[in-house]
Symmetry: C2
Subunit: 415 residues, 2 copies
């Protein structure tokens, strides 16, 4: 009976086409091919249109071709060459990835929206989506980071879910995009735990005890509320169960573990950048591997404390200590990530990290420095800086209030 | 009243004087100076006597001195120069470290015995100690590793405790000795949870529910039993509380956390070497930081499963996922430890790891290869290899049964 009911397949759109978005399109497109009973065979990838030209070093460079001599639309180049020559050069995309610069057209009828946008574009893009998505769509947010201010903490997935009135989960892990694009083995964590609202529960109840509402920080000034109840998936679609969501992302080279804890998964991807700065400082001091491992360990426990303090029991210790989005992402970020490298370099050169950002990142900003500031502002507003000595030490180092050499005494347990 | 009762101070002996033993002597000697009300001011360090000569590169080299021209007793050199020129060259020891080659004399009247011996010497040295220690002494075992065979698992601390009929805790962490000797910041974990047996509990009861007995693997064929009840500490000594044990080890550059879980602390120091081999394999394949972090994460969870399966509820998940002896030691070992480096090199050169041991370690054996074999023998005897896919994969790679490239499929979750 169940097989008769499911006559449709899910349409998937990847909202974003940078380095990570294009990588996600590739692996999702491989998975829809492997699961034709669940998913439509074309994967839409929304492209923020720009002009590009095939560079001389590219394997596609051909001086007799227009694409190598005249600026072309990026979406056209992707659909012609099956390669995002600008953001993921050298990787061939499956031919069922279709780049589309028209946002409403790209998401039309899609039941699954995978968000892979730079942090700052999420509100604007969501506003443009209102009225263009099916009301029973579900989102997965692959953008790392959270919005933290004096007023509280807002998860990216939560911002998307509330603007579009859909359920939105999160994907995060030790995921350097270029390695995954090359099909080098890695893992990720998907947080996916929608409240009961499928066709077998025709009256979805989004009560304060449902998992969606549990994500709201109790410290937020204005507790959020939805404008309307969540809309159940029609029964002629296969259910969007955890297992089917896993089939959308899991590959032999990209192992997926599904958890419930959206807040924990989202926080891990943000807070790890503060830890990476601390690890870079002690490594820059030449203190060796014991010290680096120690600040990583202390940092993971501050993540746990932060999650539990501000998101309550929906956050699980194991999300940080046992999952790819926690301990593994900390490890990867502290082995060679940008925050780690810039902090280390700032010690080695005697320059402030802001000077390093200027000179070595072409003015791009590190995620860790802004997260450290935002988290500090929030903790200070709560009078809780002392409970997070490593996060506070990183802020104070950035501000020049303390020296990196003081990290051990600052984080020394006071028991 | 309590202060009147404590008229004596604890005498401390470090049993061992290698790289790690000499480092422990240095930091313990600093701590007894800082806590004269608790500890006697001289720290005995038992030295396995050998002859040595000051090498030309040493800052102590002086061609007009006997010590630079004729072989001398190592204990004499240490006590004259306050440096262990053979095993910890370049580090000045506090003058209250006294090297002593006479084992019974070194431990005479000592209430605290810190064991820092190579694995294989522990049984013989303990046998030589019987009858020479005070019956109410307590031990702390700093030797990593466990004895695993088809019959079961024996912790080093347990082997010491049973041979000497004393309580023996354990110390383990992300502790590269040379970095600590240079007072570079690090952390460690001390497992210390003696059953009630101090002078306020004059009839110590070592029941099957006490923590000492909980350490015994239920799978062991012959459950161990003490020959006699543990002897309480006389009331004229300061109590050997967790806090006082912490004061013996904690330094501004060596942060100590005390836990109850002796089995978990001991297992972490052994099993991490298997994980380091796996990390070395994937790094040798050029798979990058995502893959390395993934096998580390999977390995930590296999540690947890192993501890809980064979040591029951006395083992805590957090010992592996939150403490220096767990996650931090895994990190340090997978960043540049010997097991990691040799496994990586074996992939890069196409040689077996046994050839690498021969050519690059002067025939010394890696801890990881023997632990992987022992653990596999034990798991096989229990029919549980499939429950530990990473440990089993490392064994099968060592044996040539599978290729390192197969690690992702071998550890892929089957849910």
């Amino acid at each position: 009976m169940a097989t008769l009911a499911a006559q449709k397949q899910h349409k998937v759109t990847i909202v974003g086409s940078g380095n990570w978005g294009t990588t996600m399109s590739k692996l999702v497109a491989e998975n829809v091919q492997a699961n034709p009973h669940l998913f439509q065979q074309t994967v839409q990838m929304w492209v923020y249109e720009e002009e590009c030209i095939i560079p001389k070093g590219s394997r596609h460079y051909d001086p007799s071709s227009d694409m190598s001599t005249k600026p072309q639309k990026l979406s056209h180049v992707i659909n012609t060459l099956h390669e995002n020559i600008k953001y993921l050069p050298g990787i061939t995309l499956p031919s069922n990835v279709v780049a589309n610069p028209d946002l409403p057209a790209a998401v039309k009828d899609s039941t699954i929206l995978v968000f892979v946008l730079p942090h700052q574009f999420i509100p604007r893009v969501c506003d443009q989506l209102v009225g263009h998505i099916v009301p029973f769509a579900r989102g997965i947010c692959c953008t790392k980071g959270v919005d933290v201010s004096e007023k509280g903490i807002r998860l990216m997935s939560e911002a998307i879910g509330m603007r579009l009135n859909i359920y939105c989960g999160a994907l995060s892990g030790a995921n350097i995009a270029s390695e995954i694009a090359q099909e080098k083995y890695s893992e990720t964590t998907v947080a996916y735990d929608p409240p009961p609202m499928d066709s077998r529960h025709p009256t979805p109840k989004v009560s304060p005890s449902s998992s969606q509402v549990d994500l709201i920080s109790p410290s937020r000034v204005n507790p959020s509320s939805r404008s309307a109840p969540l809309i159940p998936l029609p029964s002629d679609y296969p259910p969007l169960s955890r297992e089917n969501i896993r089939k959308l992302f899991h590959r032999p080279y990209f192992h997926v573990r599904i958890v419930d804890d959206v807040a924990g998964v989202s926080l891990g991807g943000a807070l790890k950048n503060i830890i990476a700065l601390a690890a870079g400082y002690v490594d820059g001091l030449g203190w060796g591997d014991n010290a680096k491992a120690a600040v990583m360990r202390v940092g993971i426990l501050e993540m746990v404390r932060f999650g539990k303090a501000f998101f309550g029991d929906s956050v699980k210790t194991g999300t940080f200590t046992e999952e790819s989005c926690g301990v593994a992402d900390v490890i990867t970020s502290c082995m060679g990530g940008r925050n780690f490298r810039c902090a280390k370099r700032s010690i080695e050169t005697g320059k402030s990290i802001y000077e390093i950002e200027e000179t070595e990142l072409n003015g791009q900003k590190l995620q860790g420095t802004s997260t450290a500031h935002e988290v500090h502002t929030f903790l200070k507003s709560q009078g809780l800086e002392a409970e997070y000595p490593l996060f506070t030490a990183v802020y104070d180092i950035l501000e020049g209030n303390v020296k990196p050499e003081q990290i051990p005494e600052l984080i020394e347990p006071k028991d």
